[in-house]
Symmetry: C2
Subunit: 209 residues, 2 copies
Amino acid sequence: MSIPEKTIERLSEYRRTLLASHAQGITHIFSHVLAGIHGITAVQVRRDLMLIGFSSDTKKGYDVEVLIDFISQILDARNVVNIGVIGMGNLGQALTKYFNGQRSKLRIVASFDIDPAKVGHRIDDIPCYDMARFEEQVNELDIKIVILSSPASIASELVVPIINAGIKGVLNFTSMPLNFPKGIVVENYDITTVLEKVAYFVKEAEENN
Amino acid sequence: MSIPEKTIERLSEYRRTLLASHAQGITHIFSHVLAGIHGITAVQVRRDLMLIGFSSDTKKGYDVEVLIDFISQILDARNVVNIGVIGMGNLGQALTKYFNGQRSKLRIVASFDIDPAKVGHRIDDIPCYDMARFEEQVNELDIKIVILSSPASIASELVVPIINAGIKGVLNFTSMPLNFPKGIVVENYDITTVLEKVAYFVKEAEENN
């Protein structure tokens, strides 16, 4: 089954809302409520769930727990996926704390840096290794995905080590766009771009007033 | 002129590449080189630039400096836009350091928190105010855009203060999607979603092997 990228994003977002609802003791949710929370139409929600083969015959709306499990079967690998962070500056540390605070099958198990003040220590309870030992540790710890939060200036130097270590997915938070060979999933995720986008649409709205 | 969201994103990305090229002394760049860096086609680059009315008649490729100025005129407001950060935990601090380290017309001028250990201090040279003084400081400092990096659990309580303060744009980094009335631009930017997306496509690639 091939599911479009945008649907995957929305499924991830629905699940987070469903988990929060579940934690509040909510057992059922209507498509239009889910849609309202995410600022989209109920038709879109139903279309997404239809696409993954989820159907609900209840008049009370979707069963929250059942839908969480259903989405999780689509999104998650069977086992926990180990993740490494390259670059433990402010952003790397923030991301580590953020991701590991979530109930998730994705787990940051190691970080990598070149700063002697960090290497050999645990930061937020995650061991920080010397970048020189990257390939070795990736194999040892069975790391499949890396998060890049290094300075943009050295990001392109990381491409070859990442390929050599057999990494399968890269989430690149540096402002340097990176290309990888086929077989390695990469998401270039530049946060400056979103801020500039918000600023542009604010400017546009002001000029049209 | 109405420019699609995706084009705005790419223009922001092109500009960052052009600025980096310029810093390295590169004066001209071909559309296929720019395209290669961003993992897209040269046709896409040319289409984007045509859309904003940029044409190049030189055989040496685009003049880097001229193109930077041209894109900046599209993206940037005439004056510096002041930004506030709500929530100065790890992520808030990382974002502040990251954004203010860039040459940009977007400037973080204040942060807001409720933690007495932070309020009244400067963090990364940015004053941190009590959230209770949000509306007052937004007016005083002419803040137009806010970045939300508070805990997700309190994000929805921030909607009313943000509306009341006259904020025009919101970049929401919490995992709680927020809706705002028309006239306020909002970008819900959940970093868990991108990580889950990368993990999904890694899983897909493995299953198809």
